[in-house]
């Protein structure tokens, strides 16, 4: 085996370990859990909302949550590389990121005051 392929061996080992762990967890669950099928378990969402009625399978209110989630998701994408280089970016980087986070927070405040965080 050449050195080139040897480097990929660790990837193969990782895939094997992941498959083993995955199978073990699901298999253990299958053996241990009781089996009581109920019709409610087959509806799209079990988050407490009834998907019957309307045009779509999803409640439009989930949309706002998805939007807020994306807000913080994108924030994380920017913050991680920034945090790694925080020292070399210096004060300039600190202020830039502060402005970015403040603007995002204002967006959250807006959503909060508009009452989209309350499910009613």
């Amino acid at each position: 085996m050449t050195e080139f392929y040897r480097q990929y061996l660790s990837v193969a080992v990782l895939i094997g370990a992941a498959a083993l762990m995955f199978g073990a967890m699901l298999g253990a669950g299958r053996l241990l859990r009781p089996n009581r099928p109920q019709p409610e378990k087959f509806i799209t969402y079990e988050a407490g909302s009834d998907p019957v009625g309307g045009w779509g399978q999803s409640n439009v209110r989930y949309y706002v949550y998805a939007l807020l989630f994306v807000m913080f998701d994108v924030e994380a994408v920017f913050i991680f590389p920034w945090a790694v280089n925080l020292k070399s970016l210096g004060v300039y980087g600190l202020i830039e990121m502060a402005v970015f986070i403040i603007v995002l927070t204002l967006g959250l405040v807006y959503a909060w005051r508009k009452g989209v965080l309350r499910w009613a």
Binding site: N85, K87, S88, L89, V103, V109, R113
Partner: protein, 497 residues
């Protein structure tokens, strides 16, 4: 300890106009959050919005003084380049934004749409447009394109009760997102071919290197042209225009037709004028085709429309064709003509849509030609202004529309583009037909027997909308009577590099 990453130096004055608009937008959203729906919220937000635009305008004036005599400010690592070209179109954008805001105050109250979000979205979109006028990097152009587009998608659908407004929002969103993707693909291909996204960087790379395989770059140029062609509504990328212009709230239609077009042409003129002047021979035929198609389709399709908003939408496509003639010549004279045309066109179209805004009644959905029958007889001033604005768009002498068309035609003649010149003149004749048809309809008394009821209009025009009407009419008239000073400004602003 890693070595410090050098951060680009920033000339804060150069990017202050965008910051002023964006900050005003954020302040309005905060006012909405803190004060909620108190009666004071909306007037306060109107004040914040207008002061944001005025502040941005003041900075543009200061920048004009600093930049004058062709000393452009290049800042943020060369990504932003503030020159007279950018400032000229920035002023056009800000003018259209101010008009839109003033026009919207009474409109929103009448339609029961009072929401600070509307004003905030207009300002954020305008911030994107300003960024577009000074962008010197394809990435910044793309960012500006998104910042200006996304608020517009929401604004087009702002009148949620009206189905046509929702339709406009969806159509604009789907086609706009599609065109953004095409533009981004063009950026990627151009980067692949030249190794840089900076406009000046691309130009100097192409000046010092010969590409063995030009396919990638040519495909990139084509995609950039398509992406920006969508935004300026050039045929064959105009499909969204009639539906969106018709469905969107009328002040927003005015905003889109004036400010978005100015921003789109700012990007077109700058990207092609700065980055690809050496590939002129390749993109000029494509722009030639766009110009001819826009002129023919815009003028002919407008003739058969029965809805005034749709008619003006097609006429805006034809106007894009005239501006494309100036762009196609790829000369400084042609750029001057395009800039002057954009300036005049912005105020003609905002004026025309302002008349539609004040002439219709609550609901904003009755814009068929029959609804406007006899408007000038019932309300001489409003109807008279509509006649003035459509005749100015037709290009009759002593209006700015005439000067703008004259400049475009003489630029085309100077560049020996006689085919474009002839098609442009013929299109002007065809468009004159439907502009005169609007004027004629407004002047004929409505028939009592016709099923369509005459427009039940409020008798009074509010002071802010009145101000918009007077300002637009005055500007169009002044450009027509004393064109020299405006031509001079446009000539100063053509200097790109």
């Amino acid at each position: 300890m890693t070595p410090p990453i050098s951060t680009p130096s920033i000339n804060w004055l150069a990017i202050s106009p965008e910051i002023a608009l964006a900050a005003a937008g954020v302040v309005m959203v905060m006012l909405r959050s803190v004060l909620r729906r108190r009666p004071i919220t909306m007037p306060l937000c109107v004040v914040v919005a207008i002061s944001g635009v005025v502040a941005a305008g003041a900075v543009e004036y200061r920048l004009w003084q600093v930049v004058d005599h062709h000393r452009a400010i290049s800042t943020v690592a060369g990504m932003v380049r503030v020159d007279l070209f950018g400032i000229f179109l920035g002023v056009v954008v800000l003018g259209a934004t101010l008009m839109t805001l003033l026009l919207s105050v009474a409109y929103l109250r009448r339609e029961g749409l009072d929401a600070p979000e509307y004003l905030a979205l207009v300002l954020l979109s305008a911030a994107g447009m300003l960024a577009m006028t000074t962008a010197n990097d394809l990435i910044v152009v793309f960012l500006a394109l998104e910042v200006l587009s996304i608020p517009l998608y929401v604004l087009a659908a702002f009148d949620r009760r009206r189905l046509s407004s929702q339709e406009a929002g969806i159509k604009y969103f789907v086609l706009g997102a599609f065109s953004s993707a095409i533009f981004l693909y063009g950026v990627a291909l151009t980067y692949g071919a030249t190794g840089t996204t900076s406009l000046t960087g691309i130009a100097s790379f192409l000046a010092h290197n010969t590409l063995l395989d030009q396919g990638t770059l040519l495909a990139g140029i084509a995609f950039l042209l398509v992406g920006l062609g969508f935004k300026v509504a050039a045929v064959p990328f105009h499909m969204w225009t009639p539906d969106v212009y018709q469905g969107a709230p009328t002040p927003i239609t005015a905003f889109m037709s004036a400010a978005t077009k100015a921003a789109g042409f700012a990007a077109l003129l700058r990207v092609f004028g700065v980055a690809f002047p050496l590939y002129r021979a390749d993109w000029r035929p494509a722009v030639f085709a766009l110009a001819v198609l826009s002129l023919v389709v815009g003028s002919v399709a407008a003739v058969v429309q029965t809805d005034v908003k749709r008619m003006l939408a097609y006429s805006s496509i034809a106007h894009a064709g005239y501006i494309l003639i100036g762009f196609q010549t790829a000369t400084s004279r042609g750029r001057e003509a395009a800039l002057l045309y954009l300036f005049v066109y912005s105020f003609m179209t905002v004026g025309a849509f302002a008349v539609l805004t004040v002439a219709t009644r609550r609901g904003d959905d009755r814009h068929s030609l029959d609804d406007y029958r006899g408007l000038a007889l019932e309300r001489p001033i409003v109807g008279g202004l509509l006649i003035f604005f459509v005749l100015a768009q037709a290009g009759i002498p002593f209006t700015g529309g005439f000067i703008a068309k004259l400049e475009v035609f003489s630029a085309a003649a100077q560049a020996h583009q006689y085919v474009l010149l002839v098609i442009g003149v013929l299109a002007a004749v065809v468009t004159a037909y439907f502009y005169l048809r609007i004027a004629y309809t407004v002047l004929t008394p409505g028939e009592e027997t016709s099923s369509a009821k005459p427009l039940e209009t409020p008798r009074r025009v509010d002071v802010w909308s009145g101000l918009v009407l007077v300002a637009c009419a005055a500007l169009v008239l002044v450009v027509g009577v004393v064109p020299g000073v405006f031509v001079h400004w446009a000539r100063d602003a053509t200097f790109l590099l």
